[in-house]
Symmetry: C2
Subunit: 140 residues, 2 copies
């Protein structure tokens, strides 16, 4: 988890990966925006554009207890008004997935509306043998 | 190209693919937001989080005349205030790439801040033999 400000965008992103890694479907359901458009593309799955189907997909994925071995490496986060985008790499064993997570403000909280994880080609994978870049956060 | 409202989000997305398919680097440079964060992940490349490097990557890709055989299929577009997200599938021969494009308002125009294209696994590719879904647009 990142050194995230409580209630901030990165805290919401941390909450997403906490639900993902611990298999907490209730937390995952609470994190996704309750209405409006939703988009989710899991690696190996066709994209999903219906909120109920998105949550059903997470139930399938988390039903076995979560993916405790996934690590998220932040590359960039940015806010434009009510919208926040967090970009990074999901590390899963030797595989790496480029990841876009989008959140929108709902009162004092952030709610997820978009998750897109796609595999990086072996030649495109980041060399993580050195010091990790802590990523950059930008607010507008 | 879609049946996009002039000045609208889908028109900006169309402008992106027009620049992409015709190799118009000037149009591509004009489309990307002039300042602030930028994120770009081309299939097979590591993610890029610096605007100058994003534009340099497009110069490399478009330098040979553009990818005239790419077709974008809209799955969903949505607006939250000043931010708009367009999701779809890029079709390139038999390959399919799940794609997230993010734009922010700049006066009366939309400017691109984020492009993420990742390969769909063969088993996840959409069956396009039937009638294509025209996609869904939502404005908040």
């Amino acid at each position: 988890m990142s050194d995230a400000e409580p209630g901030g965008l990165l805290a919401a992103n941390d909450a997403f990966y906490r639900a993902f890694t611990t298999g907490d479907i209730s937390a995952m359901q609470a994190l996704w925006a309750g209405n409006g458009p939703a988009f989710c593309c899991h690696p190996g799955w066709p994209p999903i554009v219906d909120r109920e189907q998105v949550l059903s997909s997470w139930q399938d994925i988390l039903g076995q207890g979560g993916a405790s071995d996934i690590v998220f490496m932040l590359l960039q986060s940015a806010e434009w008004g009510e919208t926040g985008i967090v970009c990074g790499i999901e590390l899963l064993g030797s595989a790496q997935f480029s990841c876009t997570n989008v959140f929108v403000r709902a009162g004092r909280d952030w709610r997820m509306v978009h998750h897109h994880a796609g595999p990086l080609a072996p030649a495109a994978r980041l060399n993580l043998s050195g010091t990790a870049d802590p990523g950059r956060s930008v607010r507008h």
